[in-house]
């Protein structure tokens, strides 16, 4: 029997990168999956997963809007059954010097990365609690939830915020058996890191594409960037029955970049 057979898993930010890898892992282990993202390409991601025989719903959603978030979980309930595992992974970043950081930029990063995580946790947890489910809420934080990087105060704040949400909700939900955990990816080879490499590279010196990331990766004890699959393995564990007694925790998945 596959680990997640009969389970329904939802992953926001599921169209690409880490979210896609997590969604694919859940599907491979038998879950029915909803991939959600704020871009139409999420439907193509789902279609590719269906070709492997998976049952997948795709939803275009803005996680900063409560009505859209509620409608998403409702739709999942209708098409796949009530959600058992909800992974709040949608996240965005910009890189800017203090003098260039706009208020709109600050608000947007906090809205998606922090408020969006809360809104999804809220709706998923209410549904799990109503149904008596010992569900799993798993939040994507970042190495920047351990230590702020330069030129990204908004992103660092948003990811530290994710840890706060995780711990607070873990306490409130502990009596129900619903667990809430977070994870901190380090440098993972995704579209976001392609942006990071270029954006930081421009502000920190005269770097050619790939150079800055290579320099940072060289400082990772394990000597390589992570992959979506590296992250998906941890998330699958946190979602499994084996992790039933783990809640309110934040686990780094970063090749030893930060040690706790």
């Amino acid at each position: 029997m596959k680990r997640f057979e009969g389970k329904v898993a939802l992953v926001t930010g599921g169209s690409r990168g880490i979210g896609q890898a997590i969604a694919e892992r859940f599907a491979a282990e038998g879950a029915r999956v909803c991939v959600a993202a704020n871009e139409e390409s999420v439907h193509a991601t789902a279609e590719a997963m269906r070709r492997t025989g998976a049952t997948v719903v795709s939803v275009v959603v803005d996680v900063t809007r409560k009505d859209e978030v509620q409608a998403m979980y409702e739709r999942v309930a209708q098409e796949l059954g009530e959600v058992d595992i909800s992974v709040q992974n949608a996240g965005v970043i910009t890189v800017a010097r203090l003098e260039d950081m706009t208020e709109a930029e600050w608000d947007k990063i906090l809205a998606v990365n922090t408020k969006g995580v809360f809104l999804c946790c809220q709706e998923a947890a209410l549904r799990m609690r109503r149904g008596g489910k010992k569900g799993r809420l798993i939040n994507t934080a970042s190495g920047q939830a351990r230590q702020g990087f330069i030129y990204t105060p908004h992103y660092a704040a948003s990811k530290f915020g994710v840890l706060g949400i995780t711990q607070s909700l873990a306490k409130e939900l502990a009596p129900t058996g619903i667990t809430v955990n977070a994870f901190c990816p380090g440098i993972i080879a995704t579209d976001m890191w392609q942006y990071n490499d270029a954006a930081w590279g421009k502000l920190l010196g005269n770097y050619q594409p790939g150079e800055l990331m290579a320099e940072w990766v060289a400082n990772i004890p394990m000597g390589r960037a992570g992959t979506g699959a590296d992250v998906a393995g941890l998330v699958a564990f946190l979602a499994s029955d084996d992790a039933a007694y783990i809640t309110g925790q934040t686990i780094n998945v970063d090749g030893g970049m930060f040690m706790s």
């Binding site: 009969g6 029915r32 139409e40 999420v42 439907h43 789902a46 279609e47 269906r50 049952t55 997948v56 719903v57 795709s58 939803v59 275009v60 009505d67 509620q70 409608a71 409702e74 739709r75 309930a77 209708q78 098409e79 796949l80 059954g81 009530e82 149904g131 008596g132 489910k133």
Partner: protein
């Protein structure tokens, strides 16, 4: 007897990606119709619906759209007519269900239920009738529920029950309005039906109660709604309009 033959008919089915809508879309094709299948973008099952219809040797069309959006429906009907031919059968199945105690229900949850289950059916009927009326030919079938006639003991779904009662009366109202222009409008009210929603382990105990409360002692298979739908869509029902056909294993009779 070919009273029930739908060969040459063009049907549109909303909510065709799962549950009753999926089975009925295939059922209309089994009776001979070509079928346009509408569901929300990203539907897990819509591709399967289309494949099953094509495997029967009928033409199928996949349509993405939201029944709460009039423009989506207008576009769907137009594409259906362009690709498959003049629309003559419409089966409006798109709907949602959930439960919350009435005193705790957020207004948004109430509104959303009405928006999908009632407004969605009205907007679907409107878009379909606008192409059917000029040709003076068409059969529209709306999926209501026995919950539109009775209240399910113990289920906290005032919004759902109300929406389905409204679908029944909406269907009768449209039947009256369009009766002299060649359109028939009826509703089907399923009782407890074995859809994916009712096959989940967490509702297993409730399902036992549903079965015990049903005179025939079990839930309906979605297969058992095909006959009623094909009947209402076909020439066999040429003098039937404004009817709510309850298909419930006898539930409402005791």
């Amino acid at each position: 007897m070919n009273l029930f033959d739908l060969s040459g008919e063009t049907a549109l089915v909303t909510g065709a990606g799962s549950g009753i809508g999926q089975r009925l879309a295939v059922g209309l094709a089994e009776a001979g119709a070509n079928v346009a299948c509408l569901d929300l973008p990203g539907s897990a099952g819509l591709g399967e619906t289309v494949e099953r219809i094509a495997a029967l040797g009928r033409r199928a069309l996949r349509l993405d759209g939201d029944v709460t959006q009039a423009a989506d429906l207008q576009r769907a009907v137009a594409r259906c007519e362009a690709d498959l031919g003049p629309l003559s059968v419409a089966l409006n199945c798109a709907g949602i269900a959930n439960a919350t105690a009435a005193e705790d229900m957020p207004e948004a949850q109430w509104q959303r239920m009405l928006s999908v289950n009632l407004n969605g059916v009205f907007l679907s009927c409107q878009a379909e009738a606008r192409v059917m009326l000029p040709r003076r030919r068409g059969a529209i079938i709306n999926i209501a529920s026995m919950s539109g006639s009775i209240v399910n003991r113990g289920l906290l779904q005032a919004h759902y029950n109300s929406s389905k009662a409204a679908v029944i009366h909406l269907s009768k109202s449209l039947a009256m309005e369009w009766s002299d222009r060649g359109l028939r409008v009826n509703s089907i009210s399923p009782g407890y039906t074995a859809t994916p929603m009712n096959s989940r382990p967490e509702v297993a105990e409730q399902v036992k109660q549903f079965e015990a409360d049903t005179p025939l002692g079990r839930m309906a298979s979605v297969d058992e709604l095909v006959g009623p739908a094909v009947f209402l869509a076909s020439r066999a029902a040429s003098f039937v309009t404004g009817v709510d056909l309850i298909v419930d294993g006898g539930f409402v009779c005791w």
